[in-house]
Amino acid sequence: MKVTVTVNGRAETHDVETRTLLVYFLREACGLTGTNVGCDTTSCGACTVLLNGESVKSCTVLAAQADGQEVTTIEGLAKPDGTFHPVQQAFHEHHALQCGYCTPGMVMAITSLLKEHPNPTEAEVREGLEGNLCRCTGYHNIVKAALAAAGSTELVS
């Protein structure tokens, strides 16, 4: 079937099998491999993207379900001149990534979280990231980066 999704502002039309998941539509049909796959039970969040501005796990959505909608992936987050989005910048400044595999999903999840809660507490950030696993950072610096990106005054030691 033919599916058209506006990905990072660009219309992407591809012929895919009905069972194709959005994450594989992005990775294989659109060639956007920044969105990662870390599990097969929708548990890890490595595949998180924004669907119409809200974070979804792209391994739980069929490409067909995203037909006619807008998706933002990690590749589309920075400004066209390459200037990082504040969440990306905060990740860099606070060493919130090590191997970087969970990072695209984390960044997208936090971007969406901060849109809903512009000034979260540490506890709200931690709860909000429940669906995103990271094996490297122990979350300490991810939480710190999220709070920094929010311009939050609540400091993590």
């Binding site: 920044g34 870390g38 191997c99 990072t103 429940e130 094996r135 950072t137 030691s157």
Partner: protein
Amino acid sequence: MSATVTERAGGGARGVVGTRMLRREDPALLSGEAQFVHDLSVPGALHLSVVRSPHAHARVLEVDLSAARECPGVVAAFSGRDLLGEWAAPMPCAWPVTADMQTPTHYPVALDEACYVGDAVAVVLAESAAQAQDAAASVSVSYEVLPAAVDLADAASDRVLAHDASETNRAYIWELAPDAAAVERAFAEAAVTVSERYVQQRLIPAAMEPRGVCVVPQPFGGDFTVYSSTQIPHILRTMLGITAGVPEGRLRVVAPSVGGGFGSKLNVYAEELLCLALARRMRRPVRWTEERSEAAQATIQGRGQIQQIELAADAEGHVQAVRVHLVADMGAYLQLVTPGIPILGAFLYHGVYDVPAYSFTCTGVFTNKTPTDAYRGAGRPEATYAIERAMDALARRIGVDPAEVRRRNFIAKDKFPYASSGGLLFDSGDYDAALAGALELADYEGLRAEQAQRRAQGSAKLLGIGLSSYVEMCGLAPSRVLASLNYAAGGWEAATVRMLPTGKVQVVSGSSPHGQGHETSWSMIVADKLGVSPEDVDVLHSDTAVSPFGLDTYGSRSLSVGGTAIAMAADRVVDKARLLAAHRLEVAPEDLDLEAGTFSVRGTPSRAVALGELAFAAFTAHDLPDGMEPNLEAQATYDPENFTFPFGTHVAVVEIDSDTGRVDLVRYVAVDDCGNQVNPLIVEGQVHGGIAQGVAQAMWEEAAYDEAGNILTTSFADYLVPAASELPSFTLGHTVTPSPSNPLGVKGIGEAGTIASTPAVVNAVVDALAHLGVHSMEMPVTPERVWRAVDAARRTPTGGTS
């Protein structure tokens, strides 16, 4: 605690070493540009799917591939027998720890006997991954199910054999008893003895990037490029060559971005061998990406031990001897370093304590489960767990505070270098300082007061405070020591530093990062050595064509061994540049100062030449001193003389709901000493991640099997890798005791957090419950376990489960 680094390695006070430089690795990873193996676009690649045994132990009677071969997109399908001719040797184990070690023959696809759930029995190649998986489901295999050796203690009894043809499940018995009589004497004379049994549950490493392999035959000759999500491209190349019978020089192994390893990618896996052999056979690229549920079976697991530890002490709690008996679960086969993992901990079961007599025995036992191998810390977390829990048991026995019993037994600061009763030379340490720092940061007195108050009030929220003081041996490893342990390779590391004609610098390292920030750290070390900006230093690695020699990344070795090689190579570049500068400035080499990348004549600083100019002059070679070879390039290979011994003390604070058994980790303090720090930002990140992994073993994670040997925890819904919501932020401090083992004075920090945190948390849980009479606690400390322990203690008025 000081938050600054008080001593710098390398280039002096104005350098970048010791600063919190942001990582150069980040931009590609943050923008989605970084390429992991699964991201590589390889036209024409066939996709491999592996058919795995659903039985823990079974005879493979027949493999029927006919239906699979008819499936859409399928190009070929093979049984183990079909592929036997591909192998020049069975899969490698590089660590025969004893001369008589039993090594079951292990092929990438089993021939007649499947020995664990997940053991490969057939493979399918198809044009797409989905087609390969669909077809794999139509492979029909007939099995004769055999009894399985599942439980470790039971397997050790040989009641059921894990391999049909063997006579025993015992792989080996390995002993370390430098003075067995002294140990016996100490136990005979002891005023107090402690005897504890602990179980190290099996763990799934769960790097977030599943494993992936892609092998591409090169068009102009018989060469193969192997892309693998591996920690060890160099070791892998050698082992692939030996096992698949490909001349090593015709293999190029590349580890692109690697999404975490934690030891699980320090191996030579069946799928790597299969992709290579099948690419050779089919003359097409072959690739495979692990499914997460497949990883629970197909990727090695960590830990898996039953530990018996005994302490002999005098009445004041001074430990005179430590005696350890381990039973270590090998799983079904010996993977790359399976048998050696418990041995890496063998020397450390007396921990940070000055214990005159020591003995250790380990029995390696086969079971019908996924093989075990290195997992973050590899042997050392197990050792630390046993001694740190036993020290708490000792403290309870003699009625002193756990901090005090540690202080009484620490190896004193002035005893370093310290010859341990296990036969190591601990390089440097100040264990008291780390303990004092941790207690202060945690407000230990305040916590104890609050705990006493809660107990007095009969609060249902119990407070527990757990300590863990650790030392580890890092910087694997002096090659001569590895020889004495029968390890099949050395422990050196290689590096090249070269200046390009434009004055830019290239560093080539044999270490192979997967999240540790090597490029940033190596550029800092070399920038300081040469006096150039780190931006002018490029770092190349993880590709055997670019870096032909190396021994890769594991065991917190990259900085202390690999970083030292880099520093040595940079020094050699400076030495050569100095001779060239002296020639051009017509002075003696010793009269030159190198400052900010420029050689100037001492006393006449206007007479100077920049390193960049010298690089160009060495490149044109128009005017070199007689006998000097063109170009500024140097290689170094560093073989450490000794291990390094990082140490520290961690404090975990838990709150337990005595009605529900729920355990919350409310506070965590770590004071670590990894010697000089090249980049404190990276050091802290390593500690954070390590703590989380160690806490996870204590509280949530367990690779659980049923009685038939089926793994039950195959997804993140069952295998509980913690999320942000389950952990607190951590409070870190550090001390700096430079290592005399290497010129950078560094020790290593990759595993410290994992080593220290597991016992700290379990000690905290026992501490919270001890007044109720609970003295033993298995991992993970689930609410059910805690509740049952509390309940049992309440039913036994005299208390006590120990």
